[in-house]
């Protein structure tokens, strides 16, 4: 309800077209986020245990 209040979700999804590739903006954001998290998991140092 809160999200629906902040963002108007009552409309068809927005789609990106790139040649034969068609992907919804929401899915494209999730895929980009997965790539970012994957890169961060590789690059960010892991906290060492105490002692």
């Amino acid at each position: 309800m809160l999200t629906a209040g902040l963002i108007d979700l009552n409309h068809p999804g927005y789609y990106l077209h790139w040649g034969v590739i068609q992907v919804s903006l929401a899915n494209a954001i999730v895929i980009l986020l997965m790539i970012v998290v994957f890169a961060a998991a590789i690059l960010l140092p892991f906290p060492r245990s105490r002692g």
């Binding site: 999730v30 986020l33 997965m34 998290v37 994957f38 998991a41 590789i42 245990s49």
Partner: protein, 224 residues
Amino acid sequence: MASIDVRQTPDGTEPTWTGALRRRLVASLPPDQLLPDRQPAYVASWIYVFGVATLAALLAVIVTGTILVLEGPIWWHTSTVGHFVNSLHLWSVELFFFCMVVHLWGKFFMAAWRGRRALTWMIGALAFVGSIGTAFTGYLVQTNFDSQWISTQAKDGLNSVGIGAWFNVLNTGQMLLWHVMLLPLIIGVLTIWHILLVRRRGVVPPFGAAESVQAAEAEPEATA
């Protein structure tokens, strides 16, 4: 008076099937490997976290799904708590797939099938495919216009490959049983099998790193 078979096995126990099964289980899944106290140093990386994060998300999926099963469609369509639990079910699935894909990428680029871990990789891949099927059947059993639309779109594709006769996406009851019974059972078995294999073979080391002592002790031929 019936005679009692007192033949002993080499370790002094009676030759019972339960004893044989116990010895086999302990030999193939030693307790110190199932619940180890320490892990190799290379496990101290965020990329090794996403497997267990996937597992945590799956637990949330199962718990929220079980609540939905107990309460039923009217509840999740009309009640505010029902909407909330329904949303938790959806978003825990989103998190489940998010973590599983990052886990998959990490293991792919690590060539995690090295060191006799091919079966672990293949079971994981099967669990991924099974999870996609479970998610798709979930969309079919929302009992709303969305699920009606998706089922009518999906039936032509499935009929064209010849499986529509026994996997009928227009049959809500059948899809509901696939979603809440058959597929979760398959995912559950594959997940437990995957975890046991990870414990048995040990986590895969990065390229250039030595195999863990634990894995080397368990499978000396794997590190040759």
